[in-house]
Symmetry: C2
Subunit: 364 residues, 2 copies
DNA sequence: GCGGCTTATAAAAACGTTTTTATAGTCTTT
DNA sequence: AAAGACTATAAAAACGTTTTTATAAGCCGC
């Protein structure tokens, strides 16, 4: 007996259900049920077993549970690798999204794991692998395309997911979104009411679902004012500063160039401002720029710009919450939330006067 | 028999070693060994079993393997949650780091999982939980403190980890770093040789190990030029634009204010430029600013700034590679790499002339 | 031609859970 | 007072691997 037990300190192995069974005198079956709050075990027994678990710092081995139940206890996030290409700033703070999701998952038994994807199509393959191999119990992804293959696949498999952005081709999936149509529309309205008539929309790739929302909002603002929309002034590209600068150069070169600009994010805005400086133009005196901001950075631009601000970490948290609820079995149709960003008015702060000037200049 | 088998399509369960054993006629033990390239099994047998595995798209269940071996097949990244606080831009593109690590892990059997931490101390607790519960086989983290509790703990446990940044209190751990001392020193030298004598160092919290490196480089540049360092012009704080702006205001209010600035990252730089505009100063005519850049964004500042550029995704990839090698048993002392960022000269492009002006102004 | 050695594979145990099935004991019901 | 229902717990099986131990066959030396 004494020869069998180690004579030094024990290897301090992690406690298991067996440990708790021996401690309390119950069987491992009862221990497991008690810890999982099964109704078949007495409250008193539960209390005793839980006390033992507490005292010894027991934590269930998720992999063993996973093996038995088939659940993975992993929540997967598909992170676009494009964020890292060309080392060009894109102004998408993915870390904030991850942070938000992670916070929502805190306290649950789910671990956050990150899978890189190159684009939506690659994302579909990764999603398929996740589903096939049981790598996760639910998936979150962003950059929703108009006809998103990930949404289509996961919907068809009835696999829990939450998208950051709506996708109209699938019926009733869970998503969290920003009211991009309203943002673009409201910004355009502000510029129109400030006297601008030639307004450019700096937009993402038109294949993104929210790109269409922005165009719709942009057009609606003109229609509301009884004007024809400036469809020729819609620039489409990636979300980098380089694209913002190039767009400005191209747009200002057309006949009857725009005097107002509605930007899609702060990286493009920064590039656009640099482009204005290239041409010796000022975003105060010569043109008006309205941005969309999720990094709170437009305040530091020259000049500080009017922006629609949406802390993206809040979106992330909502994504995480929805994913938990979706994995718990809630219907996807109930898990929809659209955030409306907050307007932070800065430049153009005397938009009406500035607009007046533009209009007069155009007439002259 | 027919009554026993389902009459519709089978549930299409994932293939297991058992499936392969039945297919090939070997035992599951042999199958397992063949797949793991054990030397005890014939090459011919291996080939047969692998062909079967290939044909049926077999992929081992990592959780079952994990249960048996104790390995988790997870690589953990400790991501500072501070990136998301106050919604203030900090200019740390953590997604790029994650992307780099993830790329390095591609093809290995390791999954990337993300754990949020509040600070280094909290990181220690999370690391301890990871080690205790076997949540991962290796850990990557950044923001190394002078006396980092995570480094101390993991070193003492001999648990594989790679730090982004050196830590001198522990002996011989694996790390990837940026030569911050050289960056700060070289930037300071440039400003000194441009005629600047009062130079400010915009630095992170002094408790970060690299903050000390920067101060050392800063001082060395003065010593090298036979000058006394401007220790009174070292500003210390977080890496936000707000801190950059506030620092500028504070530093310009002292008697004999700085004419040169060495910034720690692009968020502080952006704030500093905003602060200069607040005071009606120009980073072209009145003062000189040199930045450190990992987002390639200084090009779009007003004016575009000279910067030391280091794509952080490369660091991430190196972190991932080192972690794999560390988990494979390599000695930590061999896994050290220090990147030296590339100088991108922009403003001040006629530094010598500008410096002259500053010096003359100071004399007058 | 047979004990011992090597070789190729098989059998079985183990990892830590959860879940199904079994087993006593107690309580109803008539 | 005995059959049946219910209750609380125990025993056992299962998840899919890996690893240890066992087994049978072939070969060697003499």
């Amino acid at each position: 007996m004494t020869a069998k037990t180690a004579h030094r300190s024990a290897p301090a192995r992690r406690p298991t259900v067996k440990t708790l069974a021996e401690m309390t005198g119950y069987s491992i079956a009862t221990v497991s049920k008690a810890l999982n709050d099964s109704p078949v075990v007495t409250d008193e027994t539960k209390a005793r077993i839980r006390a033992a678990a507490e005292s010894v710092g027991y934590a269930a081995n998720p992999r063993a549970a996973s093996l038995r139940t088939g659940k993975s206890f992993q929540a997967a996030v598909l992170m676009p690798i494009s964020v890292a290409e060309g080392h060009e700033w894109h102004g998408v703070e993915y870390a904030e999204i991850l942070s938000g999701i992670s916070r929502a998952l805190e306290g649950s038994s789910y671990q956050l794991s990150v899978h890189l994807i190159r684009d939506a199509e690659d994302g579909r393959n990764v999603a398929e692998r996740i589903v096939r191999r049981g790598l996760a119990d639910g998936i979150v992804f962003s950059g929703i395309r108009r006809n998103d293959p990930r949404v289509a696949y996961l919907s068809s498999m009835d696999f829990p997911f939450v998208a950051m952005g709506h996708c109209d081709t699938a019926s009733g999936h869970a998503y969290v979104d920003i009211d991009s149509g309203w943002v673009a529309g409201d910004a355009t309205r502000r510029l129109i009411s400030g006297g601008h008539r030639r307004i450019a929309l700096i937009n993402p790739d038109p294949d993104f679902a929210y790109a269409q929302d922005r165009i719709a909002g942009f057009r609606a603002a003109f229609a509301q004012a009884g004007l024809a929309p400036c469809d020729d002034l819609i620039a489409e590209g990636d979300l980098t500063a380089r694209f913002g600068r190039e767009s400005l150069h191209r747009l200002r070169a057309v006949t009857d160039p725009p005097t107002g600009f509605v930007c899609v994010n702060e990286a493009t805005t920064l590039g656009l401002l640099a482009g204005l400086r290239d041409l010796g133009l000022s975003a105060e005196a010569d043109v008006s720029v309205i941005s969309y901001d999720d990094l709170n950075v437009s305040e530091y631009f020259a000049p500080p710009l009017t922006t629609y601000f949406q802390p993206v970490e809040e979106l992330g948290r909502c994504l995480g919450e929805f994913l938990l609820r979706r994995m718990a079995g809630e219907a996807p149709g109930d898990l929809v939330r659209v955030f409306r960003p907050r307007l932070i008015p800065r430049q153009p702060d005397r938009l009406a006067d500035a607009g007046q000037t533009h209009q007069q200049r155009r007439k002259a």
